[in-house]
Assembly symmetry: C2
Homo-oligomer: 209 residues x 2
């Protein structure tokens, strides 16, 4: 069902999504009932079923849209530059910016893969694979061109994604650092991890030699 915000139905559907993400992030998918969700939104359970035929369909929709939004977001943020370091920087900044404002949704997406049926799980894993592939491609091209030093492109991509997604576990907007500052610190760590920092600094060192 399309998200037609503005109409009453659109507003109800958006309220269902938001309440579902918050409840599932707090209690876990298995512990949340459609009845409880309806009460949270302030509608009859029957109204819920008009938007989502069953609880797993609701979970699948939330997780699918999370990944589709992330892919769309990266598609728009992707820089025109072919430089692997510029592309990696854009990837890290965009990933952190996207996830810190979707803390609960990210939490649900990472936690509740266990609760999906096999077909739905395959679908979500394909979307995740597509996103990870973007990073693997940046890393591989950078490794080939000498912009990065990487031993295992697959493991490095997973390690970077887990490291930068980890921001949502501890980051709160009222922390000592802004999102931008956190993103820059994580970017520096990513650049070191991929050897980019070292490679970038070498010409500077040589200029003084």
């Amino acid at each position: 069902m399309a998200r037609t915000t503005g109409s009453d139905g659109g507003r109800t559907e958006a309220a269902i999504r938001e309440a579902a993400i918050n409840l599932i992030a707090r209690f876990g998918y298995e512990a949340v009932s459609m009845r409880q969700l309806a009460a949270e939104v302030g509608v009859q359970a029957a109204a819920l079923y008009r938007y989502f035929p069953n609880k797993e369909d609701l979970l699948f929709t939330l997780m699918r849209e999370h990944m589709e939004d992330l892919l769309k977001d990266w598609d728009q943020a992707r820089p025109a530059s072919a430089d692997p370091q510029a592309r990696l920087a854009a990837f890290v900044r965009n990933h952190i910016r996207f996830h810190v404002v979707r803390r609960h949704s990210t939490h649900v997406s990472n936690m509740e893969l266990r609760s999906l049926s096999r077909d739905n799980l395959s679908h979500i894993l394909r979307l995740r694979g597509g996103y990870e592939k973007e990073l693997r491609q940046i890393l591989r091209e950078g490794a080939d061109s000498g912009a990065f030093r990487i031993d295992d492109v697959g493991l490095t991509a997973i390690a970077i994604i887990q490291m930068i997604t980890g921001v949502i576990v501890w980051f709160r907007p009222d922390e000592r650092l802004s999102v931008e500052e956190v993103a820059e610190t994580y970017l520096t760590m990513t650049m070191r991890l991929t050897g980019a920092e070292e490679i970038r600094e070498k010409p500077h060192v040589h200029a003084h030699a």
Copy 2:
């Protein structure tokens, strides 16, 4: 209650722990009932309450023992060497080795902080803080001595722990890599991330210059 494996009571208690970790990892704490857990272990619900007065006490015990075991484990693995790079290497190897064989327990420990009462949460966070402090200390001393290049010791410690704990999400013993190979790859990434790789390599580069 002490873990007296060998006695009937000890065996029952160990079976409760194991079943609880598996059920909570699969369904989430809120969705698992003491009745369901008793059925899984094959005892009456009343027998469960002899070991754990209530469900949160059981969760707290599982999470507390996970952290106490980790701290004890690191205490034994901690190298005599004062060299920050050797200590960081030991920390990373030990962390990965400890967690890959406790995948469900790690999952529960990371996920179910949300389900602890305030006092129990404080207790667990203190234990976690104590463990993270070990890493922060290694990083700080290495940064001071010039063995590492680190911008923010606190963020770097969190980033490393999240990156290396992330192994449990995808690693299975039948993967293309052994635990030891995975640990070495993650160690190389950690050494790059902290600038240790670069610093370690410099004398080599200079020798050829």
